[in-house]
Amino acid sequence: MKVEGFLDVLCDALGKEPGTLTCDDTPTTVEEWDSVGHLSIIASLDEELGVPVDNEGLRKFASIGELVDRLVARNALEK
């Protein structure tokens, strides 16, 4: 999956319109990214990308860009 497609997966997970998230977004800039929203993101990694989310690096991230970089490094996303 390409990064753009993944951003839309995250929009869906957070209940936002497609195309409304960027790699610069953080829990502070996205109202829907609360504790439950964070669980939705983790669920989407499990469901849509099939990556093992018991890895701490894929549970704790401060921005979408940080998560994307980690997924790209694991070959789970294409830049």
């Binding site: 609360d34 504790s35 439950v36 964070h38 669980l39 939705s40 983790i42 669920a43 499990d46 469901e47 093992p52 989310v53 018991d54 701490e56 894929l58 549970r59 704790k60």
Partner: protein, 341 residues
């Protein structure tokens, strides 16, 4: 002729006081209770009164069970009390309950310190004790009052957990009853769901009582319950589907032939996700959290009994039970339901 070990009956007890989402919203105007409800499926929880403990609730549940005409307290010869909110460090709550319930002095009694996996562990111990003729009837009491550990301003746990107790009688039956088990442990996750203070490692002090507010706006001290929600969620969605697969192979059952999946009632979102991951039809996944929340070790037996009372679980039904959580600890078993009382 008896051929197996099964569940003879279950009773449960919920404290009188009910804390609704409306209560929590009034007390905490900054909490998005409607959004939380949409995900968790929890609208209310029962909260133990001041001075009401897990053993009090376990006693109430067990009394309701043993008062049934089909059961005789003197037939119980083993008592397992599972709680993480004991009355005292010592003696064990099981000893106090033996006396309070008027059980015989021949009874073996012990406490099990497990949370969400505790009920299935209790069934495993009960089946093993009966299987080797060390007991004929085992009373498994599961009870918890996590509310007493929870800081009122900690949204992550206060909105989820409710107090409750269940008493389950296990004995010899005419059917296969309780089947195979798969259990497991990963103590590496201990810090993700913990009350850090108050034990002998870190005794209560002014330091452990010091409150702090995290970046998400949740306040707690080391004397309170802490849960890393994302870590627990990730643990559950990676572990439970694997455990279920292993158990099905061991029991030689297929997903299709199971009538009801009765998992630890963590919250609706988790259960729906687990159902999706194991390709379980939504109507077969029991979700009963709306009015009681997550009642820890009592959640599976309460869901079973309420399923029986509402007509969704019948004698002959094939059930798959899975407990998972604090520890990390998990346990799963297959059961052919036969309790009729």
């Amino acid at each position: 002729m008896t051929v197996g070990v099964g569940i003879l009956g279950i009773s449960y007890y919920l404290p009188q006081r009910v804390e609704t989402n409306e209560h929590l919203q009034r007390q905490n105007p900054d909490w998005r209770m409607e959004d939380l409800y949409e995900k968790s499926g929890i609208a209310a929880r029962h909260i133990a009164a001041d001075g009401e403990t897990a053993s009090d609730m376990g006693y109430a549940a067990a009394t309701r069970l043993l008062e049934r005409p089909t059961f005789t307290p003197q037939d119980v010869d083993y008592l397992i009390f599972c709680t993480q909110s004991p009355d005292h460090f010592l003696p064990s709550g099981a000893c106090a309950l033996q006396n309070r319930l008027g059980l015989g002095r021949h009874v073996g009694a012990l406490d099990v310190n497990l949370g969400c996996s505790g009920f299935v562990y209790g069934l495993q111990l009960a089946k093993a004790l009966i299987g080797v003729d060390f007991a004929d009837q085992v009373l498994v009491i599961t009870a918890d009052t996590y509310s007493k550990y929870i800081h009122p301003r900690d949204r992550t746990v206060r909105t989820l957990f409710g107090d409750g107790a269940a008493a389950t009688l296990v004995g010899r039956t005419n059917q296969s009853g309780i089947g195979q088990f798969v259990v497991g442990t990963n103590g590496g996750g201990a810090g993700d769901l913990i009350v850090p203070g108050g034990g002998l490692r870190t005794p209560r002090s002014a330091e452990t009582a010091r409150e702090a507010t995290d970046p998400a706006g949740c306040t707690r001290s080391a004397d309170n319950l802490f849960m890393d929600g994302p870590a627990i969620f990730a643990f559950a969605i990676t572990t439970v589907p694997r455990v279920v697969k292993t158990l099905l192979a061991k029991a030689k059952w297929s997903t299709d032939e199971i009538d009801r999946f009765v998992y630890h009632q963590a919250n609706q979102y988790m259960l729906q996700h687990l159902a999706k991951r194991s390709k379980i039809p939504p109507e077969k996944m029991v979700i009963d959290v709306k009015t009681i929340g997550n009642t820890v070790s009592a959640s599976i037996p309460i869901a079973l009994q309420r399923g029986v009372e509402s007509g969704t679980i019948h004698p002959g039904h094939k059930l798959l039970l899975v407990g998972f959580g604090v520890g990390y600890s998990w346990a799963a078993c297959n059961v052919t339901w036969e309790a009729t009382s």
